[in-house]
Amino acid sequence: MFGQMDLSRFNTRAHEAFPLDRRNFVQLALGTGAGLIIGGWVPASAARAEGAATTSESASGIFTPYVKITPDNVVTVLVKHQDKGQGIATGLSTLVADELDADWAQIHPEFAPANVELYKNFAFGVQGTGGSTAIANSFEQYRKAGAAAREMITQAAAKRWGVAPETVKVAKGVVSSGSNSATLGELAAEAATIPVPKEPKLKTPDQFTYIGKSFPRLDSVAKTTGARIYTQDVQLPDMLVATLARPPKFGGTVKSVDDKAARAVKGVVDVVTTSRGVAVLAKTTYAAIRARDQLEITWDESKAEARSTDALIADYKALAEKPGQIARKEGDAEGGIAKADKVIEATYIFPFLAHAPMEPMNCVLQFKDGKATMWTGSQLQTVDQNVTAHIFGIKPEDVIINTLWAGGSFGRRGVYDSDYIAETAEIVKVTGRTEPIKLIWTREDDIKGGYYRPVYVHKVRVGLDKDGAVTGWHHRIVGQSIVTGTAFESAIVKDGIDGTSVEGVSDTPYAIPNMQVELHTTQAGPRPLWWRSVGHTHTAYVMETMIDEVAAVSGKDPVAFRLSLLEKYPRHTGVLKLAAEKAGWDKPLPEGVFRGVAVHESFKSFVAEVAEVKIVDGKPKVQRVVAAVDCGIAVNPDNIKAQVEGGVGFGLGAVLHSKVTMKDGVIDQGNFDTYEVLRFNEMPHVEVHIVPSAEVPTGIGEPGVPPIGPAVANAVAVGTGQRVRVLPFADGLKLG
């Protein structure tokens, strides 16, 4: 999520009040202490960083806000990012374990509390996870945390044994000097009295013991025994379960409610109206779900979105014929096209997409004694904290967030207006109850609930000379801005251009003379949201299929043609060459199998994918995908492979099947029977090759997604002669 942003600008603005969100609902103010920790790894105001720990802390062996070592020999890593499956809990633990020289078996990850000062994401200035930033922004900080703990342990050992610190060695959790030996846990209490070093010495890459090697995820066991607790599983004494009936049309409000039948359902405790809908509170989940169906609600739809998606797309297509705001202008695109021998013209249509994580949205919240306590898979803790504080009229620090493991997100839980958390807070507030309340969403709530990858239309015209060289490229993009009107606007929108709408096109690395990129930012009922790889979900598709078409029209090899336009971009060409080589690009394929390629940079990582596709019963069947990845230093190669395998499947399901449509403002789909995603039998065999690199590590949660759609489309074009420009393929590919 988040896409491309000018991080430095965001950071400097982190102290400013957030503007009103699109519902005009709540003004977010960022927490205190917004000064960035540049050059430091722990804020000076964190007391434990300043000097010796207090006696009580010594007993528990707490070292820093990021690492705790306790006498039971457990090393707890306080993970500031949310783990929704991407593996960051294991990732940050790896960084600490390596510098500390701990034994892998003693490492225990735990999610950090909400505290913007201690746990902010340096990329956003707030505590939160997204934009594939987690490893990049924590790489130094968590290594320093491990290195600091190691130095403190070393000094404690030297003191205990009366030896010089230089003679003390730490390896696999065992501290030794000569014949002396102790565990980390045995030295924890003494080490906690040592001042935290301000500039702990880090290992050089050749000294890494865990970084760069594949080893098991720390959450594998709990997730294979049924023991892992997600928000959906939280059970607290006297807890009530809530469901919320939301307006069927975006922008609708409650006019009147007849709740007699709902209240008659066994187990129902209360029915309340909030600014967002009508909530049913019950003793059991099923009662809350069933009773909601019994509500008779009259909605005021006078201000609601009433368009159908077809009309919306027709509006967008009309806009694509008119000049928009200029996002990039280089040379004279129109002039270049005017003198071309041949012009390729294409209009692309991308649908709304739901994130549909397996665990639907949910939140448990209790308000008692002036404090709000929350249990949820929080992805933007600072925003969630501020939104909740505002609703209850309390200070952000009086909102305690217990971040839980999340059952997927793909961008959905990192919401600029904390929608489902705000819903829960409002229900708690309106009822005035002090019991914990768990709001659950059904799958239908999720698919119909908005917060989609927005509909986008691209209109592209490319001029070619008689040798097939590009003479001009004119590109218009039409769609909703994800961040305009949200807390993230000031960081991402520049001169009226939302960077996430044009990323991947306006910054294309291809050597294209005479290029103009324009943007029309639209308004529509469904709220737009970052969806795994954000703008790249549509921009990579357009760029990589158009470049491929240009190569085909010019009679050039798709790989060689790309390489010729990427001479100044070694990391692009590196992955492209590696993927082509591993896929056997130059070798013939069995009859009926076609190949396509795409290469794209997103979140500072570079991925090329070669797809091998067969046409079966008039539909593309992707058999094999060869991916090459350059994401800097590979902290955990197996997890990188897992993220790319998953990203390929995630992107493939979307381009083949997924779409959310509206008829007169009402969403047509509701569950996995109508909102189709990739299923087991459609998963291709994915091979992932990692380019060895000494560059700083960059993102991997998202970058595997953008190239798969165009790689498959390019293979389909070879096999069928059709360039698919209306997504998903179920709509855009017409065979036989």
Binding site: K84, G85, Q86, G87, P216, R217, D219, S220, V221, A222, K223, T224, T225, G226, A227, R228, I229, Y230, Q232, D233, Q235, K266, T284, T285, Y286, I289, A356, P357, M358, E359, P360, W405, A406, G407, G408, S409, F410, I440, T442, R443, D638, N639, A642, E645, G646, G647, V648, G649, F650, G653, N671, F672, D673, V677, L678, R679, F680, N681, M683, H685
Partner: protein, 152 residues
């Protein structure tokens, strides 16, 4: 009131007859390993065994299980279960993990019926279980790996 056996233990539950088994097991019996993903038997996250046959607990009324044996992920045991769990851990199949109880229940049922399944057997058995992290490739590898373990 419905009486049945769950993971070898006899229980009597008070949920109304039409309450889906999933909510009875999660809310009334407190076994939370089986997940809610869709509520209409489309995703398989709630998969349990009813007399050793996999069923979608989200659409199975509790009255249907009276006098029968229910098994959930918490009670999944024996050589096949251990092979499946071991393979899942060895290959680091999980990502978010939310669907994996259902995936493993379905995989173990497949291996109980077909000890050395082909890729197409695996496709047939697993296509009803959705994973949005798209861990399908590793699930396939883990099923083959578990089958190997069971051979020896």
């Amino acid at each position: 009131m419905t009486k049945f056996t769950i993971n070898g233990r006899e229980v009597t539950v008070t949920s109304e007859d039409d309450t889906p088994l999933l909510w009875v097991v999660r809310d009334e019996l407190g076994l939370i390993g089986s997940k809610f993903g869709c509520g209409i038997a489309q995703c398989g996250a709630c998969t349990m065994y009813l007399d050793s046959q996999p069923v979608r607990a989200c659409v199975t009324p509790v009255s249907d299980v009276a006098g029968r044996e229910v098994t959930t992920i918490e009670g999944l045991s024996g050589p096949v279960a251990e092979a499946v769990r071991g393979a899942w851990q060895k290959l680091d199949v999980v990502q978010c993990g939310y669907c994996q109880s259902g995936q493993m229940m379905t995989a173990a049922a497949l291996l109980s019926e077909i000890p050395a399944p082909s890729d197409s057997d695996i496709d047939n058995a697993m296509t009803g279980n959705i994973c949005r992290c798209n861990t399908y490739q590793r699930i396939r590898a883990a099923i083959h790996s578990a089958a190997e373990t069971l051979k020896t």
